[in-house]
């Protein structure tokens, strides 16, 4: 009986020991063997937080562009790298991939690096891919923009950043407008009280067309060649009207409509009155006075200016809405739904200051197919320089919800 009790006690103690050791082993395993897993989670979370912090920095550089401290530091190397040696409007660097490309190239002390996004197919091994709804199936894409992929140096985690390029648009204030030059009889009036209209602040650049060539539909970019160096920030002026329409569509926009260009350029007589009965307008965007013409290259880059200042995009002052190059500079094409044959802003460097073309709302015609003089209708007011090959720029617009 005593032996039996001892035997039972021994079995009980041994069982207790076995169970205790099993649990102890489990705990030690959790603490020692699984510990690296816990640390891995912590590191992964820290890596994700670093990526988000870096995303916020990238976003700052994207928004600030030429005002960012990174541009101040990198400007010289960056311009050398892109072979740019002329002055250009550096505000074009906002929402533009150039600074980020230079950070990737010349900044070494970062805790992340850029990697080529999946599907990047251009020959230059770009660190980004230009995305629009026409070249990706990704849902919830806000608009057109640039896809960058960043990788955390420590954890190799990646984040795909989509940076929208919509910061070069201006909002057309909601008010009553009129089409074309002021006439004695009834004006052709329209309003945009129930529309949110956004217009490109500047003409489309070669740099933007390069993205279309690299990432757009190959059928549409036929005959277009990519530009580099000093041409990057000059207006793209070698597209046919169909290509202009196609480019704006690629970005989910429309080619600029002539009457909205008038709306954004004629200076309202009274900004506080958004529904005036009579819409008086001066032919010059800088003044309300009809007679206050200024032969000044900073208002109107005319033929005389070529010898004084090299032409560049956004050389002149902005209009009341913020639109650049409303007069002078290069030709600009529109789609005119009222008078389709008056679809060209002829006020340009092809005419001297005295030319009657330098008036808002007064347009020439372009057939949209070619660039020599037979494709243009200057209504008997011929240019000062008869070029064998005129250049025609354009911009896009869109309606927003």
């Amino acid at each position: 009986m005593k032996n039996f009790k001892r035997f039972f006690l021994s079995i009980f103690i041994l069982s207790l020991c076995a169970v205790s050791f099993f649990f102890l082993w489990k705990n030690l395993k959790i603490q020692w063997i699984d510990k690296p897993k816990t640390e891995q989670f912590i590191q992964e979370r820290q890596g994700l937080e670093r990526l988000l912090k870096n995303s916020s920095e990238i976003h700052r550089i994207w928004q600030d562009g030429e005002d960012s401290r990174e541009w101040v530091q990198l400007k010289k190397e960056c311009l050398n790298y892109f072979k740019i040696n002329t002055i250009f409007d550096e505000s074009l660097l906002r929402c533009h991939p150039m600074i980020l490309q230079c950070i990737d190239k010349f900044y070494k002390k970062l805790d992340f690096h850029f990697v080529s996004p999946i599907g990047e197919r251009s020959s230059q091994e770009k660190i980004y891919r230009y995305l629009t709804k026409s070249n990706t199936v990704h849902q919830q894409l806000p608009a057109s923009g640039y896809l960058f992929t960043i990788e955390d140096n420590q954890t190799s985690q990646k984040l795909n950043l989509f940076l929208s390029d919509s910061c070069h648009e201006v909002f057309l204030p909601k008010r009553m407008y009129a089409y074309g030059e002021e006439v004695q009889e009834d004006d052709y009036k329209f309003d945009n009280f129930d529309q949110n209209i956004y217009i490109d602040r500047h003409l489309i650049t070669h740099s933007e067309i390069n993205e279309w060539i690299d990432f757009g539909n190959l059928d549409q970019v036929h005959g277009l060649k990519k530009k580099d160096g000093n041409d990057l920030f000059l207006p793209a002026t070698d597209l046919t009207m169909d290509q202009m329409l196609g480019y704006c569509s690629f970005r989910g926009k429309q080619l600029m409509l002539a009457h909205y260009f008038d709306a954004a350029t004629f200076l309202p007589m009274d900004l506080a009155e958004n529904n005036p009965v009579k819409i008086k307008r001066s032919p010059y965007y800088w003044t309300k006075k009809k007679s206050e013409f200024k032969p000044n290259c900073h208002y109107l880059y005319a033929n005389e200016c070529i010898s004084k200042f090299p032409y560049r995009l956004n050389f002149s002052e902005p209009t009341w809405t913020g639109l650049m190059d409303a007069m002078g500079g290069g030709f600009e094409a529109f789609r005119n739904p009222i008078d389709p044959d008056s679809n060209l802003k002829a006020s340009s460097m092809h005419f001297n200051f005295k030319s009657p073309w330098h008036k808002l709302g007064f347009r020439a015609g372009w057939d949209g197919e070619g660039f020599d003089i037979r494709h243009f209708d200057f209504k008997a007011i011929e240019p000062s320089i008869i070029s064998q090959h005129f250049e025609v720029g354009f911009r896009c617009m869109r309606e927003s919800k």
Binding site: I13, L16, C17, S20, F22, F23, L24, I30, K37, T38, F41, I42, E44, L48, L52, S55, S56, I58, W62, C95, I118, G119, L131, T136, V137, H138, Q139, Q140, L141, P142, L159, N160, F162, S164, C167, H168, V170, F171, P173, M176, K189, F190, D191, D194, Q195, N196, Y198, C248, S249, G252, Q254, L257, T321, P337, I338, D339, P340, E399, S400, K401
Partner: protein, 291 residues
């Protein structure tokens, strides 16, 4: 006495071994990370009723407390996360469950299938959505835990300001996080609508928003799904404007819709803009066409 001491020691040893058999820390971190990797891409948060208030009802019953919408891997489809919480009551422990629906659909009132994530034995749950951050605070094993998730894709609308570019009301305006993989570029999977050469006049244009004469939405707004942009036409004067079509705008041209002339002109002889050699006429669907 020695034997009793040994037994007591072994019992204590046993209890100690059992008591420590929990792994709350790494479990919580892994769960938090699992959620973070998904919610980082959330673009909509729905159904939050008591922001920054402890959820105390209904007791002991699982109920839907939040819905989040996000894209799947590759961004091809929208999926849904449904959050359910059971408030602890007597012997019923508190549970947070997340159900994942692989589609853009509404959440059932209670979880109907296996949870994507389950967190048991929690209490005092509080949700807070502020400044594009979603915080979950709760007690777990007598510890107060706060999880904060950044929601950089959450969009509270577009800000229109005079003389300014459009700005998304987001954590980082103009920045979104995408879930890119090879599928993101498989054109056959695209849900975006329209072709570059679609024209209203040849019947190929797609309506993306339609209103009737009472300004009721006959077709809810899907214009964000237009591959090549969209444009408004003139049909009815409604607070959000007229109906809209996807594609390249050819308004004013023959057989195409008239361009909007604005709300001040809807009763005018010419309520829309057409080329000077054409006239605007209402078609059978009360849409202004240039003929």
């Amino acid at each position: 006495m020695n034997k009793i001491g040994l037994i007591l020691f072994l019992i204590l040893f046993f209890i100690q071994g059992c008591l420590d058999f929990t792994k709350p820390v790494d479990d919580l971190i892994s769960l938090e990370l699992k959620i973070y990797h998904e919610w980082l891409y959330a673009h909509r948060v729905l159904g939050l009723q008591n922001n920054d208030q402890m959820i105390e009802k209904p007791l002991g019953v699982e109920s839907l407390i939040l819905t989040l919408k996000m894209v799947d891997d590759g961004g091809v489809k929208i999926k849904t996360h449904c959050l359910y919480y059971r408030v602890p009551y007597k012997k019923i422990i508190g549970v947070l469950k997340i159900l994942e629906l692989k589609s853009d659909s509404s959440c059932p009132e209670s979880p109907v299938s296996t949870s994507w994530l389950e967190l048991i034995a929690i209490k005092n749950l509080k949700l807070k959505l502020e400044n594009f951050k979603l915080s979950l605070s709760f007690s777990h094993n007598e510890k107060n835990i706060v999880w904060t998730f950044l929601l950089p894709n959450l969009n509270a609308g577009i800000i229109h300001e005079k003389y300014q570019a459009a700005r998304d009301n987001k954590l980082f305006p103009n920045l979104s996080l995408l879930r890119i993989n090879e599928e993101s570029f498989e054109e056959s999977r695209s849900l975006y609508v329209g072709k570059i050469n679609d024209h209203f006049s040849n019947g190929s244009a797609h309506l993306c928003y339609q209103v009737n004469k009472n300004c009721q939405e006959v077709l809810p707004d899907k214009c964000d799904e237009c591959r090549f942009g969209w444009y408004q036409v003139v049909d009815y004067q409604c607070p959000r404007g007229g109906s809209r079509y996807c594609g390249q705008n050819h308004c004013g041209e023959k057989g195409e819709p008239a361009c909007p002339r604005g709300e001040s002109f809807l009763q005018d002889q010419e309520p829309g803009i057409c080329q000077s050699d054409l006239s605007p006429v209402w078609n059978g669907d009360h849409l202004l066409i240039c003929q």
